[in-house]
């Protein structure tokens, strides 16, 4: 059925695709650190050769009841439920920044437990629902 030319093209394509997939896989694997948009507090704790005072992003959840606002700075704790990181930030925060929600902070690590942010991004989760429903859920939880 298949002529020789067609067979040749099929084998060429499959070889091309296989080698490309392997190449892309290794490229992405070696670039993982750069592809990650932010590091979690656990990444920071475990990573030995982390460079302090270099610009980086950390992300996770804002720990419940951890936001502490005084006239100079907003202090809060980013947690990934294994490790925690204290963050200090002065400036405006996005509307969606609140306790128990995702956050990404951009700034400098002072030491492994303290981070000075110069920019805060809110990370939205994948849930969409109307406000009434949220109130009902809140009531039920309480």
């Amino acid at each position: 059925m298949l002529t020789k030319k067609v067979q040749k093209r099929v084998s060429f394509l499959s070889l091309l695709l296989i080698s490309l997939v392997i190449a892309v896989f290794f490229i992405l694997k070696s670039l993982t650190n750069n592809i990650l948009y932010f590091k979690s507090p656990t990444d920071i704790q475990l990573n030995q050769d982390i460079v302090l005072s270099k610009k980086m992003r950390v992300g996770g959840m804002v720990k419940k009841n951890s936001i502490n606002i005084n006239d100079k700075a907003i202090n809060f704790i980013i947690t990934d439920f294994k490790n925690e990181l204290f963050v200090s930030y002065s400036g405006t925060v996005p509307n969606l920044f609140s306790e128990g929600k995702g956050v990404v902070a951009e700034g400098i690590l002072k030491d492994k437990n303290f981070f000075i942010a110069d920019r805060i991004l809110a990370k939205h989760d994948e849930k969409y629902m109307p406000p009434e429903l949220k109130n009902i859920i809140k009531k039920n939880v309480k």
């Binding site: 948009y37 809110a122 969409y128 949220k134």
Partner: protein, 235 residues
């Protein structure tokens, strides 16, 4: 295959389809828009900016879907050298590029009020930009290469190589930490969009798919006319 390319027959069907889509398109568009902009509730967190999602998510899906079709048809056309497939892929590309750009733009508009930034080089957004670049390469290959045989060959290779990007886009939010949220709607699993928001989303998807079909058919018609004209010139 020659029967399909038979101009009188395919013209008749294309015309009929275009007329049919034209007749229902605006009615469905108005219905979908009312659901998306008026009847659906605001989100508990984002407020009214959730409405951007009704354009953003379908456009991103359509951008991915068109490239998947493009790559699949390109593989077939590369192996079997069917000319008609090249006309089809050539007609899919512009509409896919448009929707990919629309997804990136609306995402940027949504990012400002929710994330607090217009742009982030995270894996999902970057891979989406790469998808748009592959569309541009595909279209440019057809525009710049004069020899038609060569242009078809190179453009289908571009589409096949770009196909590797598709699973990367899909799983980028699961493989790496991204600012972009993971997918809200899963075919095999839980969806996190409330039904009152799912309905306008699906309506908008349907409308935009109709729009795609309309533009595709019109472009396909022009491509066929171009081929016919060339043949006349040769004679």
């Amino acid at each position: 295959m020659f029967d399909l390319i038979n101009p009188s027959k395919i013209f008749y069907w294309i015309e009929k389809l275009i007329n049919f889509i034209n007749s229902i398109f605006f009615i469905i568009l108005i219905i979908a828009m009312t659901f998306a902009l008026v009847l659906s509730p605001p989100d508990y967190l984002q407020g009214d900016s959730v409405r951007i999602m009704y354009v953003h998510v379908p456009s991103a899906w359509i951008g991915l879907l068109s490239f998947t079709c493009l790559a699949f048809l390109s593989i077939l056309s590369f192996i079997f050298k069917i000319k008609n497939l090249n006309l089809i892929t050539k007609s899919i590309a512009p509409i896919g590029l448009m929707f990919t750009c629309l997804a990136v733009l609306t995402g940027s508009l949504w990012g400002q009020p929710t994330w607090g930034t217009w742009w982030a080089w995270d894996a999902r957004i970057t891979s989406m930009v790469i998808l748009a670049l592959f569309y541009v390469l595909f279209i440019l290959a057809h525009k710049l290469i004069e020899d038609e045989y060569k242009a078809n060959k190179i453009s289908s290779l571009i589409a096949i190589i770009g196909a590797i990007n598709i699973p990367i886009i899909k799983y980028s939010v699961d493989w790496w930490n991204t600012l972009h949220q993971p997918s809200s709607i899963n075919v095999y699993g839980d969806s996190y969009v409330h039904s009152s928001m799912l309905l306008p989303l699906m309506l908008m998807l349907f409308v935009l798919l109709l729009y795609c079909a309309l533009i595709f058919l019109m472009k396909y018609k022009t491509e066929i006319i171009r081929i016919k004209k060339k043949n006349i010139k040769r004679l």
